[in-house]
C-alpha cells in the first residue's frame, strides 16, 4: 500500500517552541479558540537556542514528517541573545538537510511572539499543508516507519 495516496494519512509534525514567546503565542491561540490542524505536537523548551540540531535529526530518524523550530523575534529573546544563535544554527541546518535530499519545507524555523497567536495558527496550518503535500518522510526515517507508516 502506498501511503502517499492514502487520503487519511496525517503527517507527524514536531514543533519546538520557546517558553516565553511561541509557547505563549500557542496558548493564546487556544484562548482565542483558533483552529489549526491536529497533526502538530509541541515540545516546550526554555529558549529556541536550547534546541540542539541533533534533536531534529533524531525526529526525522524516528519518522517525523516535519519539524518546526519557533522562538522569539530577534531582539526580543527573553535571554537577550539566544535566538541569534538559533538563527545561525538553523539556517545552516536547513541547508545541510536540503543538501542531503530533505526538502527544506520539512524543516522550518519561524519567529512567533507571545502575541502572535494568529501567526502561530497560520504557520502551523501552512507547514501542515506543505508537508501533507510532500507525503511521508521516507528518506531519513528508520526502515520500519517507511513501510506503511502506521504504527
Amino acid at each position: 500500500m502506498s501511503v502517499k495516496t492514502n487520503e487519511n494519512w496525517e503527517p507527524k509534525i514536531l514543533a519546538f517552541c520557546c517558553n516565553w514567546c511561541t509557547y505563549t503565542g500557542a496558548d493564546l491561540a487556544g484562548l482565542n479558540r483558533m483552529k489549526y490542524p491536529e497533526n502538530v505536537r509541541v515540545i516546550r523548551v526554555p529558549c529556541s537556542s536550547r534546541v540542539n540540531p541533533q534533536f531534529i535529526l533524531r525526529a526525522f530518524q524516528k519518522g517525523c514528517d516535519g519539524v518546526l523550530v519557533c522562538g522569539c523575534h530577534p531582539g526580543d529573546c527573553h535571554y537577550a541573545t539566544g535566538n541569534y544563535f538559533t538563527r545561525r544554527r538553523f539556517m545552516l541546518m536547513q541547508r545541510l538537510l536540503e543538501y542531503n535530499g530533505i526538502d527544506p519545507k520539512r524543516f522550518q524555523a519561524k519567529w512567533i511572539s507571545g502575541s502572535e497567536a494568529a501567526k502561530f495558527r497560520d504557520t502551523v496550518t501552512k507547514v501542515s499543508a506543505e508537508i501533507k503535500a510532500l507525503g511521508p518522510n521516507t528518506k531519513f526515517a528508520e526502515p520500519h516507519f517507511t513501510e506503511g507508516g502506521d504504527k
Binding site: 535529526l57 542531503n100 535530499g101 530533505i102
Partner: protein
C-alpha cells in the same frame, strides 16, 4: 632559491635534534620510512639518533598535529613538524583549547604538495604558526574551485541527492576513522560514544550512519580546516569533505569570508552572532 627535498630533510633533522637538545621537548612528531618506498608513516623521534630517521618527501602525507592529543597533559613539550595544513590543525586545537601553545614546539616546513589529491586544493602551503620555519615561503594560491564540487552537487534534485548519500552511507562501516583523524574532532569524549544519553545508535545501518555523518558535519562544519584527513583515512572512500565543505560554503555565503585554522581570535561561526546576520525566519 628553493631548498631541495633532501636539504629540507636534513634541516628537519637538524632542527629536531636542536629541539631535543633543549631538554624541554619529549619527542618530535614527524614521518619515517616503511618497507614500502611510497608509504611513509608518522614517527615519534625521542632521541638524537632517532632524529636521523625523520624523512621528508612527497609521501609524507599523514597529518602530524593530532598526535599531540595522545597525551593531553604532557610533562614536556611536543615538537611537531608542521606543514601548512598541520599548522592550521594546531591552530584549530589551540582555539578549541585542547592544546596549549607553550606545550608545543612547532617546526614549520613550507610544503609544495604531497602525493595526496587534497594538496591540489591547498590554499596554505606556508605554515601559519611556527617557532622555526624551514624553507622559503612560497606565494599562496587561491583555490577558485574550493566549492565547485558542492555547487555542482547542489544542482541535483532532492531525490538524486538522497540517493547519492544513501549509497555512500550504505557503504559506511561506522568505524570512526574520520573522527579519529580529524583535528576538529578533539572532544575528550565523543557524543557518539555516549550511549546512555542515546544520541546515537551503535549499529552500522544507513540511518545511523546518516545521523552520524550529518551530526559530525554539523559539529565540525564551522571549524573544519579542510585538511582532508577524514577522506584520506576512510576505508570505504566516502566523500566526507563534501558535507563539511557544504557547511563552509553556506557560512561563506551567509556570514562573509570564512576560513578556519587561521592564527586569529575569530570564534567559529556557531559560537557567535551579529545583529546584521541575514534572517530567513521572519
Amino acid at each position: 632559491m628553493a631548498l631541495s627535498e633532501k636539504d629540507i630533510e636534513l634541516k628537519i633533522r637538524e632542527e629536531a635534534k636542536k629541539a631535543l637538545a633543549t631538554g624541554e621537548v619529549s619527542c618530535v612528531i614527524g614521518w619515517t620510512t616503511t618497507r614500502f618506498p611510497d608509504k611513509m608513516k608518522p614517527f615519534f623521534a625521542e632521541t638524537e639518533a632517532e632524529c636521523d630517521e625523520l624523512v621528508w618527501n612527497k609521501y609524507c602525507i599523514n597529518g602530524t598535529a593530532k598526535y599531540a592529543l595522545d597525551d593531553r597533559y604532557p610533562s614536556k613539550k611536543f615538537a611537531i613538524i608542521a606543514r601548512g595544513c598541520d599548522s592550521r590543525a594546531i591552530n584549530r586545537m589551540l582555539k578549541d583549547k585542547q592544546l596549549l601553545r607553550e606545550n608545543l614546539y612547532i617546526i614549520g616546513v613550507v610544503c609544495d604538495g604531497k602525493e595526496n589529491p587534497i594538496c591540489e586544493e591547498c590554499q596554505h602551503k606556508n605554515p601559519l604558526t611556527y617557532d622555526v620555519l624551514i624553507g622559503e615561503p612560497v606565494p599562496e594560491q587561491i583555490d577558485e574551485k574550493r566549492f565547485a564540487e558542492v555547487e555542482a552537487f547542489e544542482k541535483l534534485s532532492p531525490d538524486e541527492k538522497y540517493e547519492y548519500w544513501a549509497k555512500q552511507y550504505d557503504k559506511c562501516i561506522h568505524c570512526y576513522a574520520c573522527r579519529n583523524a580529524c583535528p576538529a574532532c578533539n572532544c575528550v569524549e565523543c557524543y557518539a560514544d555516549q550511549y546512555r544519553t542515546g544520541w546515537q545508535g551503535k549499529a552500522s545501518d544507513r540511518i545511523q550512519n546518516q545521523v552520524y555523518g550529518l551530526t559530525r558535519a554539523f559539529h565540525v562544519g564551522d571549524r573544519c580546516i579542510e585538511c582532508g584527513e577524514c577522506e584520506r583515512v576512510c576505508p570505504m572512500g566516502l566523500p566526507i569533505m563534501r558535507q563539511t565543505r557544504k557547511m563552509l560554503k553556506d557560512i561563506n555565503d551567509l556570514f562573509g569570508d570564512y576560513e578556519c585554522g587561521m592564527p586569529d581570535d575569530a570564534m567559529p561561526v556557531l559560537g557567535g552572532y551579529t545583529l546584521a546576520d541575514p534572517d530567513e525566519f521572519m
